[in-house]
């Protein structure tokens, strides 16, 4: 038994914003109410001045296991996720081997259970080997625990394949997540095309490279009626397509990463911690994304946590792999960039980390008796400095190393167990 006393319970599902106690019995929430008695010797967690939210869900991360253990393992990645306040993370299938069959899925699920921190919900490959040819063993992976399919790292190769994947996944109830990019426009680019790419002499990727593929996928969603989720969306053009699809009642959702709502292509310099895909967008695209996050057009904040071991990033900009760490700075960036700036109320930010991503997966998330005891307890005014050297992650590739923040996860509770507590 764990009694969380005097926290400000913020639950977007029930629109609750009140000082309440939450009693946890085993792996479930037993009771939510004011001034609950601590009976039967329940352990008491004093949450005074803290916010108690449903457990955060990250729809997009890379845990690198199997095959990339130099950069991250399920064990180190989930510890980093717990520090970021995440109670469940969806890991992308671009491992080695690719998670395109049930035995890889099962091994990820078993390794995650052994690590025993946050829940790991694997995403299966859409095509065998993510090669864009034949379909992966999607139904077998579903039985083993996948929550969605994606060929992340690259787009589902053709419109025809996307149609097949969508048709196949619809009766299975699985959303199709796409990394939207047109390979012919991407063409060796390493940052967003614009004045800064011209100045730095780095090959640019036009914004249309993303939106053209979002448009294609929405056409396929219209054709098939499937659930489409646009991964790490970064441009105003893509957002316009998604808004139109939502107006037309298509089952289309999307996510945005903290680095895309925080940084712009003007921030890019010859530092590979600013190299990610999709690349940092223009200021006007970034501002449009913030608008979409605030008005509900964008469903979730997802980290795209992409660890790369230090030696692989300590190279020339154009030779470095794409990607940055994301778990431990996500909430703080949301608080700093979106709430403290008045772009959205705190309740909306919590929604983007909880009920928003849950709905993308077809799940509910709320703080109520009988629900799984997954909770994220955070402070909106705790000041701290992010240092990659302190991270349990095996990688250090963050552009936010050394940045000071106001607001931080204070405890992460998964299935009634406190898996992280800030000291």
């Amino acid at each position: 038994m764990l009694l969380i006393k005097n926290g400000r319970v913020l639950d977007p599902a029930t629109k609750t914003d009140a000082t309440l106690d939450v009693l946890i019995d085993g792996d479930r929430i037993a009771q939510v109410g004011a001034n609950l008695e601590s009976s039967n010797g329940a352990e008491v967690f004093d949450a005074r001045d803290l916010i108690v939210a449903p457990g955060f869900i990250d729809l997009h991360c890379h845990l690198r296991e199997p095959g990339g253990e130099m950069s991250e393992t399920i064990e180190t990645g989930t510890r980093s996720a717990a520090r970021g306040g995440f109670t469940a993370v969806c890991c992308m299938p671009n491992t080695q081997p690719v998670n395109d069959n049930a035995s890889v899925t099962r091994s990820i699920v078993e390794r995650a259970a052994a690590a025993g921190t946050v829940r790991v919900w694997p995403i299966g490959a859409a095509s065998a080997g993510s090669k864009g040819e034949a379909l992966a063993e999607i139904s077998a992976m579903k039985s083993a625990g996948i929550v969605a399919v994606s060929d992340d790292g690259k787009p589902v190769a053709t419109a025809r394949l996307m149609r097949q994947v969508m048709d196949y996944c619809t009766p299975l109830g699985l959303p199709v997540i796409d990394h939207c990019e047109d390979p012919s426009l991407f063409a060796g680019g390493v940052m967003r095309e614009g004045p800064n790419s011209l100045k730095l002499g780095l090959p640019g990727i036009p914004a249309a490279s993303e939106s053209i593929c979002v448009g294609r996928d929405i056409e396929m969603a219209l054709l098939t009626g499937a659930r489409l989720h646009v991964a790490h969306m970064s441009t105003a053009g893509s957002l316009a397509y998604v808004r139109a699809a939502k107006r037309n009642k298509l089952r289309v959702t999307c996510e945005v990463t903290p680095h895309h709502f925080t940084l712009t292509d003007d921030d890019v310099r010859y530092d590979t911690h600013y190299k990610m895909n999709p690349p940092l967008a223009s200021r006007s695209d970034r501002d449009a994304l913030i608008g979409g996050l605030a008005d509900g057009s964008i469903d979730a904040i997802a980290t795209d946590h992409a660890p790369h071991h230090p030696a692989s990033k300590d190279v020339e900009f154009d030779r470095a792999p794409f990607g940055v760490l994301g778990f431990e700075t996500a909430l703080a960036l949301g608080l700093t960039e979106l709430v403290d700036t008045g772009k959205m109320p705190l309740m909306r930010l919590v929604e983007l980390f909880t009920t928003g991503p849950a709905r993308v997966l077809g799940l509910e998330r709320k703080i109520a008796a009988g629900e799984p005891a997954d909770l994220t307890i955070f402070s909106s005014d705790h000041t701290w400095t992010y240092r990659t050297a302190d991270s349990p992650s095996k990688s250090r590739n963050s552009p936010f190393d050394g940045r000071s923040f106001r607001g931080a996860p204070m405890a992460t509770i998964v299935g009634g167990k406190v898996v992280y507590r800030r000291t």
Binding site: G194, P195, G201, L202, P203, Y270, E316
Partner: protein, 323 residues
């Protein structure tokens, strides 16, 4: 007071005072190239690492000769014969070179930003001899020296740069350098190689896609080589390029009558420039090559020699000549 340089990574972050100082320092080295005995003792005992991770002939020979004429020894690394082929990273390669204790390193690399990457990690001065499609500062400095010699000054000219600007480090370094002296720059070439956003690189830059409009009234015309090896998109058919953008004697008439024609080389005769222009009286192409030696000697002397800015110039001090 002149801000002392610790590296030469590009012209973007040089002040006009620093540029003028380098050009002034290069002057005596220009005259020195005409001496029968072309050897100074200024950098005797110093070693310059010449690390070319991308093939080059003229820039490598120019730097090597400049170092040699200052009395320095060189150690050369060339991509074809280096351990890069065996998978060694750039940082490991340059740290290995540094462990042999050179006093400075000259780097050419196909990746934009590679010299800055190295400069942040080594203790010795780094000279950028061309990085990707970013900068080629010694080329811009030698171009500036040539313009100043032939036109009497740098300030206030209308200068047209013609060709594939998008993939040109020479163009970027020239744009940054020349605009610091109030030069009005016209960038001209096919639209896919001359994007409109280039106008935001510096004040006084305009983009024009019609060569006649681009050349009209120009005081200097810089012709770039068409760098087919660096293109990420289908290249234009050579005949199309020639028809639309070759600098011909007839087109040159649109520029000022005494317009100076420059080309960083190597020239592809009959493609970007007509031989009659390249070899004509308005061409400064061969002076550019000689001026390259003077500029590189001036830079090596200041970055590696460590002399104060007001020290007597070594090329004027004949006692300094070695045997």
């Amino acid at each position: 007071m002149l801000q002392r340089l610790s590296h030469l990574l590009g012209t973007e972050n040089l002040t006009s005072e620093q540029i003028a100082f380098i050009l002034d320092q290069a002057k005596p080295f220009q005259e020195f190239q005409r001496h029968p005995l072309k050897k100074l003792a200024t950098l005797r005992g110093k070693t310059v690492a010449i690390a070319f991770f991308e093939s080059s002939t003229r820039t490598r020979i120019s730097f090597t000769t400049a170092a040699s004429r200052l009395g320095a020894d060189t150690m050369a690394l060339q991509a074809e014969s280096s351990s890069l082929k065996k998978g060694e990273s750039l940082i490991d390669t340059v740290r290995t070179l540094e462990a042999m204790r050179p006093d400075g390193i000259v780097i050419r690399h196909a990746s934009s930003g590679a010299p800055e990457f190295v400069a942040q990690r080594l203790e010795i001065p780094v000279l950028n001899a061309g990085d990707g499609t970013h900068e080629h500062p010694t080329q811009a400095l030698l171009d500036a020296l040539t313009i100043r010699d032939r036109k009497g000054k740098l300030e206030g000219w209308n200068i047209t740069i013609l060709g594939d600007i998008l993939h040109s480090r020479v163009a970027r370094s020239n744009i940054h350098l020349l605009t610091k002296f109030g030069v009005k720059i016209t960038l001209c070439g096919p639209a896919m190689w001359v994007p409109r956003d280039l106008e935001k690189l510096a004040p006084g830059v305009r983009v024009v896609h019609c060569i006649e409009e681009g050349l009209r009234g120009a005081d200097v015309v810089m012709v770039l080589r068409v760098q087919t090896e660096r293109l990420h998109q289908p290249a234009l058919a050579p005949d199309e390029y020639i028809a639309q953008y070759q600098l011909t004697p007839a087109r040159l008439l649109l520029a000022q009558p005494d317009a100076l024609v420059l080309h960083p080389g190597p020239i592809v005769r009959g493609l970007e420039i007509d031989s009659a222009v390249a070899d004509g009286p308005q061409s400064g192409v061969l002076e550019q090559v000689t001026n390259g030696l003077a500029i590189r000697m001036a830079l090596l002397y200041h970055l590696i020699g460590g002399a104060p800015a007001d020290a007597p110039h070594p090329a004027k001090d004949r006692a300094n000549a070695s045997d």
